[in-house]
């Protein structure tokens, strides 16, 4: 990039962070390219945070572009659609991009290359619509946060009763040095992003919008300014923030722009803020204005291990090998393939995995840029980890407690406020894989919690049964007692009358029976 933008005044700082050298130059040289339709698309049924979807199609079905393939009734979930027309050839387990390297249920489409749409109903005049209807449309379009978290967006557009939102913050601060899909999207499609902003503002009933953009994105900044002028959409403020990893983290960006902190265990909505990524807003605009569900995304294919780094728009389900091939293939010294950036991305064991909604970057690295981890040495308590921690934690203490398996202590030291940005491990002079220790501790605690819940349920069930049996016994005893008392407590006359009445009932029954027998 030739020039740097001037950083806005009156901004705030979060603790720590790291300033990295720019790695954007190569991949921003070309415009976003559309990948040709691949022969086969593999769509995992869970590409979001929340409940896994259930297929609504079966093998052999002919599907059209945009047709619903799988959905879930759960509030926190996002349906899956067919990115192009074709035939369902399998609904089975397939390897998916996940740090575990495990398989998950997927729908496999054999594409027909015709790219035939299903019927659509665009809504150009969304401001006349009911807000909950709009949210439903966004939910049904399968839109999730495209910054990497993949949390269903419609949930974030519904602050719920009791919370008033006063600011919409748009996250255009792509802070991982390799990733620039948002940058390119803004440069080329700023107008639609602004429409997305407007839809989100309408849903949230908020006027004020601040777009946080890093000072190394001058072209994107200019594009947004131009689009604001063209569309005449008001009350949008561009805020230029310093390039510092992890400014693109939601909590960090909110702190930088507003000086407020999202309360521990709380949501941005608790302090009147909702934050959406630019890619997400673009998808929202497409969903409402063109009635297009989320079918594709822009992904940065980069790294020294790829011959022609660039940004590509591809359908979900596209095998990553196709993306690599489209970008000239791998260089001979490629050694590691990452989904995401070099700080938070995870390594893939194969490129035969599908592109998913959360994938913002495919980074093919050489040993030179992604070196093999060194042998960990003893912690020298230097405190560098603490200096860079954007959550203000004590990474070193967390490491000691995680290593000693003192998980209660890790929680006391706010382990769950760790966003796993990797700054601590990056600067650790002893090359201790700190983040790995935190993941381990988190997983152990989660397992423990699950076990406790299970045993709690079992115990509750047992106790309930005990109470029920006791109650039944007591009720029986009470009834008996009542009956006895009724007999004992009444005077002779009424007793006599009762006996008389019983005898008469018996007599009447006998007569009736005799009658029926004779008939």
């Amino acid at each position: 990039m030739s020039k740097q933008l001037t950083i806005n005044r009156g901004l705030h700082r979060f603790n720590g962070g790291i300033h990295f050298a720019d790695e954007h130059a190569e991949s921003t040289r070309h415009v976003i390219a559309s990948l040709p339709i691949p022969d086969k698309l593999i769509l995992p049924l869970k590409q979001h945070i929340g409940e896994t979807c259930k297929p609504v199609v079966s093998v052999g079905d002919q599907v059209l572009k945009g047709q619903l393939l799988a959905e879930s009734e759960n509030y926190i979930s996002a349906p899956i659609h067919a990115p192009t027309s074709g035939i369902i050839i399998a609904i089975a387990d397939h390897e998916v991009p996940h740090p575990s390297g495990l398989t998950a249920p997927c729908i496999v489409i054999k594409t027909d290359g015709e790219d035939r749409w299903c019927e659509r109903e665009p809504i150009p005049d969304y401001r006349s619509m009911d807000r909950s209807h709009l949210r439903n449309l966004i939910r049904n379009a399968g839109i999730v946060g495209l910054g990497g978290a993949a949390f269903p967006s419609s949930v974030k557009l519904n602050p719920g009763p009791g919370r008033t939102i006063n600011t919409l913050i748009v996250n255009a601060a792509e802070c991982e040095p390799y990733i620039n899909c948002d940058d390119m999207l803004i440069r080329e499609r700023a107008v639609e992003i602004l429409h997305g902003v407007d839809i989100a503002r309408y849903c949230l009933k908020v006027k004020q919008c601040k777009i946080g953009i890093e000072d190394n994105m001058p072209d994107a900044h200019a594009a947004l300014q131009k689009a604001i002028k063209e569309t005449g959409i008001e009350d949008i403020k561009l805020v230029v923030v310093p390039t510092r990893y992890p400014t693109g983290g939601e909590k960090q960006l909110i702190k930088v722009i507003t000086g407020l902190e999202v309360p521990k265990d709380g949501l941005p909505a608790d302090i009147g803020i909702v934050c959406h990524n630019v890619g997400t807003l673009y998808a929202i605009a497409r969903a409402i204005l063109h009635n297009e569900p989320l079918l594709s995304r822009v992904v940065t294919v980069t790294g020294k291990g790829i011959k022609q780094p660039r940004n590509v728009e591809a359908f979900f389900g596209t095998p990553l090998s196709e993306l690599a091939k489209f970008c000239g293939g791998y260089t001979h010294d490629v050694s590691r393939l990452l989904m995401g950036g070099h700080m938070m991305g995870f390594a893939l064991h194969s490129d035969e995995l599908p592109l998913v909604k959360a994938a913002n970057c495919l980074l093919a690295g050489t040993p030179d840029e992604l070196p093999e981890p060194g042998k960990p040495k003893p912690c020298i308590r230097c405190g560098m980890c603490e200096q860079v921690c954007p959550a203000n934690l004590l990474p070193q203490q967390l490491y000691w407690y995680a290593k000693a398996k003192e998980f209660d202590k890790t929680e006391e030291f706010n382990l769950f406020d760790c966003i796993e940005c990797g700054c601590c491990a990056y600067v650790c002079p002893s090359e201790i894989p700190l983040v790995q220790y935190y993941r381990y501790a988190k997983a152990e605690i989660a397992t423990k919690v699950r076990k406790r819940e299970k045993s709690d349920i079992a115990r509750q069930r047992f106790e309930f049964r005990k109470v029920r049996l006791e109650r039944e016994q007591q009720e029986k005893a009470e009834q008996m007692q009542k009956r006895k008392e009724a007999l004992r407590g009444s005077d002779d006359n009424s007793k006599q009358a009762a006996i008389q009445a019983a005898l008469e009932r018996v007599k009447a029954k006998k007569e009736e029976r005799a009658k029926t027998q004779t008939e």
């Binding site: 938070m344 840029e369 003893p378 230097c382 603490e386 002079p429």
Partner: protein, 343 residues
């Protein structure tokens, strides 16, 4: 295509342990050169002896502890410990003094606690204090700066003194002298005033002659370490400013009997201590706020020991005393986690 996997983050900064330690040695070079300029070959010979003994004793104890020898030696931490102790010792200290101090520092103060990262006290300062308490005579026989005594010893002469205790014909008196801090202490006891004492050629512009230049070089080296983000500014700033402050208060109160604040900074081991010893990561505080308290404690204690204590310089004792309080300070200076309310 298949790939190898690893966990995030997938990159690492260039500041790795062994390089970090080398940077510290690099930052010590100007100060070492200044010492050599003023005090002669003895400074360098001390360093050579100290480093050799440090490596040998560390290798020895690692073998006994059944730990990897070469990978541990390669972290350069023993090198730094040896270097720091060597430049704190009198330039004509007999070889066995240096060897004893360094081996005690490495074997007892470092490795027997579990090695690098586990030692509660600064090993170099433990070595120094052990020598100071056990051999007070040898430890206080400093060489007068070349420009004061007018005598410069050749390499051969220096080696003869250090290894064989063969003194030159006219003996110790022409060569050795008290350190400026020592001088002030003894002369004050003889009821002289500071301005009178400072007329001695031993004193330079700010601190002791020669010493002040070494101090200035340590300051430069320290700034380099801060620039390289190898140490944080908190500790040295706290050490020096607290020392300046307390010295200033007493200087205002009675400038005849209390040396000036700048003299305290540029005399003795103040600058070496502030930038290179108090900043030892292992034995100091970890949080930024904690480092401020820790450093301030060292500054004040050094002044107290220098002024009213039994030893001319107090850096080593002050550092060790604050090492003891480091975990306590850390406990009370935990940073406020993002999103936690201010209470």
């Amino acid at each position: 295509m298949r790939f190898n996997t690893a966990t995030s983050p997938h990159d690492h900064s260039q500041n790795k342990l062994d390089r970090l330690m080398l940077h510290v040695v690099l930052a010590l070079l100007p100060g070492t050169a200044a010492l050599y300029w003023y005090f002669g070959w003895g400074v360098l010979i001390n360093i050579v002896i100290a480093v050799a003994v440090a490596w040998i004793s560390e290798a020895f104890i690692l073998l006994i502890r059944q730990r990897p020898v070469f990978t541990t030696l390669k972290d350069n931490s023993a090198l730094v410990t040896a270097w720091l102790l060597a430049i704190a010792l009198p330039p004509l200290a007999p070889w066995w003094l240096t060897a004893l101090g360094v081996s005690f520092a490495i074997v007892f103060a470092k490795q027997l606690y579990g090695g690098l990262g586990y030692n509660p006290f600064n090993p170099a300062m433990i070595g120094y204090v052990v020598l100071l308490i056990s051999f007070p005579l040898e430890m206080t026989q400093w060489l007068a700066p070349v420009s004061v005594s007018g005598e410069s010893l050749s390499l051969q002469q220096t080696m003869q003194i250090i290894f064989f205790h063969q003194l030159p014909v006219d003996g110790w008196d022409a060569l050795s002298g008290a350190t400026p801090l020592d001088k002030i202490k003894t002369e004050l006891a003889l009821l002289k005033t500071i301005p009178e004492i400072k007329t001695d050629p031993l004193f330079g512009y700010l601190g002791g002659r020669g010493w002040e230049w070494a101090g200035f070089c340590y300051l430069l080296g320290g700034l380099y370490l801060i620039y390289k983000k190898i140490i944080s500014w908190h500790t040295p700033v706290a050490v020096l400013s607290s020392m300046l402050f307390i010295a200033f208060v007493f200087y205002l109160f009675d400038s005849e009997h209390y040396a000036s604040p700048l003299f305290h900074i540029f005399a003795g081991g103040a600058l070496l201590g502030a930038f290179f010893i108090a900043t030892d990561p292992v034995s100091s505080c970890t949080s930024s706020r904690g480092k401020l308290f820790y450093g301030a404690g060292i500054g004040v204690l050094t002044y107290v020991i220098r002024t009213w204590g039994g030893y001319p310089d107090g850096i080593a004792f002050a550092v060790l005393l604050m090492n003891m309080s480091a975990p306590f300070i850390d406990y009370y200076t935990k940073p406020r986690v993002y999103g936690l309310s201010k209470q």
